[in-house]
Amino acid sequence: MMHIALVGNPNTGKTSLFNQLTGTYEYVGNWSGVTVEKKVGVLRNKQAKVIDLPGVYSLHPLSRDERVVTQFLLTESFDEILNIVDASQLERNLLLTVQLLEFGKPLAIALNMVDVAERRGIFIDQTKLAQALRVHVVPVVARTGKGCDQVERMLLEKVTERTEPLTLFYGEAMERAIERFIATWGTEESFPVRWLAIQFYEGNSYVHDYVAEKLPEATWRSLYEQAEKEVKQTEQMQLAQFIYEKRRSFVKEVIEQVVQRTEIGQVTLTDRIDAVVTNKYIGIPLFLLAMYILFQLTFDWLGAPLSDLLDAFFAGPLTDSVTAMLEAIGASEFIRALVVDGIIAGVGGVLVFVPQIFILFFFISFLEDSGYMARVALVMDRLMEAVGLNGKAFIPLIIGFGCNVPGVMAARTIEQPRERLVTMLLTPLMSCSARLPVYALFVGAFFAAHQAIVVFSLYVLGVSLALILAKLFSLTILKEEASVFVVELPPYRMPQWQALWRSTWDKGKGFVKKAGTFIFGGSVAIWLLSYVGPHGVNVNMDDSFLAMIGGVLAPLLAPLGFGTWQAGAALLTGFLAKEVVVSTMNIIYHVPNVESLQGLMATQFTPLSAFSFMVFVLLYVPCLATVATIYKETGSRKWTMFSIGYALVLAYIVSLAIYQIGSLLGF
């Protein structure tokens, strides 16, 4: 099967085009860098595979997700490149196209956002563009899918008339340097060595590593230094800048031939929205208001009633009909107890939060797709700068409210490696949706009159601690690195329902899947441990294995206000996934629904110890999936252990302080 690589600048509608072409469920985002992983889809007619690569401005990478593209070109086999080009930003888009043409693979251009360009008075002659670059150009509207059929047909037929890579003349000095490189390297490659030479001289860090692996240091150093010296002498310019300027003048020539401009002094909708959203005085209050509405909708106005309906269904009709069914088929008491007290109590206790979690993910997707996320980075940069990070670090934190795993991954777009590390370490402090069931349970039992404010205080606590620790880490880990911040602010777009639903489902399905696997398995295991004890089966739960295991932790937890074996067991299992804490409690307290569980817990916790417990759950360790992601992303066992260790210490100290000070104050 043919393999087609989809390459383009960030925010050009690349992921939308990918979804239109492949029709698979993919994640669409508007914030530069949402596409951080390599994704493969199959064309609708099943004739070819399409690989969606992260958006890049150039093949010369600055951040980690940008390295993926250069790495892909050099190390993976594929047949064609589909280059998506934003018609309204032709110059910078074509700068990438030139580098791709130099690479020499068959290439076709999908010209997107022609409508946006025309509204700005930019008219592109597609035939002339195709002639100037000697490639096929197909106009598309990636959001609606217009033109995608034509792209698909073209990809399968002859994609290009070009048989050779594009060769720009880079001037005498540079051409001599390229020849020297080729003479040293040899020509036995699956890609043009000329391309490698140009990227090497331009200072492409990935290509540098690639070259340094095969050539001795003295050789590549002298190649580079000689070129630098000669270009400086003849052109009075830095090597990298000189190469850039050469490419740019070629692109300018092309644009001259194909673009007609008319002056339209029109104020765009984006300008009008930005006048409010990024306003000096109301920008930050507006962001806080947006967050407040988001949480109210998720937890109070919309999410809570839906959850209650679901809970009533699990506790009533579902349990009754399952019990009746089990009786009808003559199942034993053991099976009945396993299914009803173990599985339905454990899995159901978590599934009731599906509405809240989907609402939260829906709004996060909306913020991403609309273009507001990049503005959040801008608005919050001053605060983040004060703690040693930059505004872009705020985005992984917000995504972390949904789930810490994509939050940790979103940190890839941060250019400075140390800043990225600190952001990854702090993302788990963001209260993710899986912690919500725990809060909902306790808040309902102990703080019925002040639910929203108590939950909100936990979110604020997480964010505040993250900021304080950021400051602390930036004074220690980050010491030698200056924080930098540049962010592209894409035009606003009204997200499309289809794309929104897809990305909400994409994020939310993980939660449902977890309920079917981890939580299902965990519930069965926990129930068994509570059913079996050293003295036989169906024991009193206080004599079960679970009580023994939890009991080991109880004395340690006593100073925090919840020194019971039940709390110990719940916290231990909560490492699997934080919502398992609720499953465990449902099973331990052996109750049919959330309301009676809350009634029972009032005998074990006081409001103060309940709050202390929630704080501990918020902070104590990232869940298993997050730990695995941190390990994958940092590639370091040391930092992964650190992320667990500091969280445990922090949780213990903060909960201890809350409980002890609270007790002294008489709560």
């Binding site: 401005y57 150039s58 010369h60 600055l62 309204s88 930003q89 110059e91 910078r92 700005r120 850039y244 765009t268 984006t270 300008d271 930005d274 006048a275 990024t278 306003n279 000096k280 005085y281 920008g283 930050i284 990049a374 980075a377 801008l378 608005v379 940069d381 001053r382 700068e385 505004g391 250019e415 400075q416 200056a482 930098v484 911040f485 540049v486 962010v487 592209e488 602010l489 035009p491």
Partner: protein
Amino acid sequence: MVAMTQLRVGERAKIVDLSQVNDLVKRRLLDMGVTEGTEICLKCTMPLGGPFMIENCGQCVGIRRHEAMSIQVKPL
């Protein structure tokens, strides 16, 4: 020639000198087509020494205040 921070919101200017800017920032700006000779417009500034938002050919970029301070521009 003045520093970009001297511009008023809504004012247009041509970039004259970027040599004092941090290399990483310079590369990113270059990626977005902002370099010496580019015409920009200051769209807005954030309070308490927060970032600046500039526009060039219909695209907006956010940079920090101290970076803006080291960019020399010529008001148009």
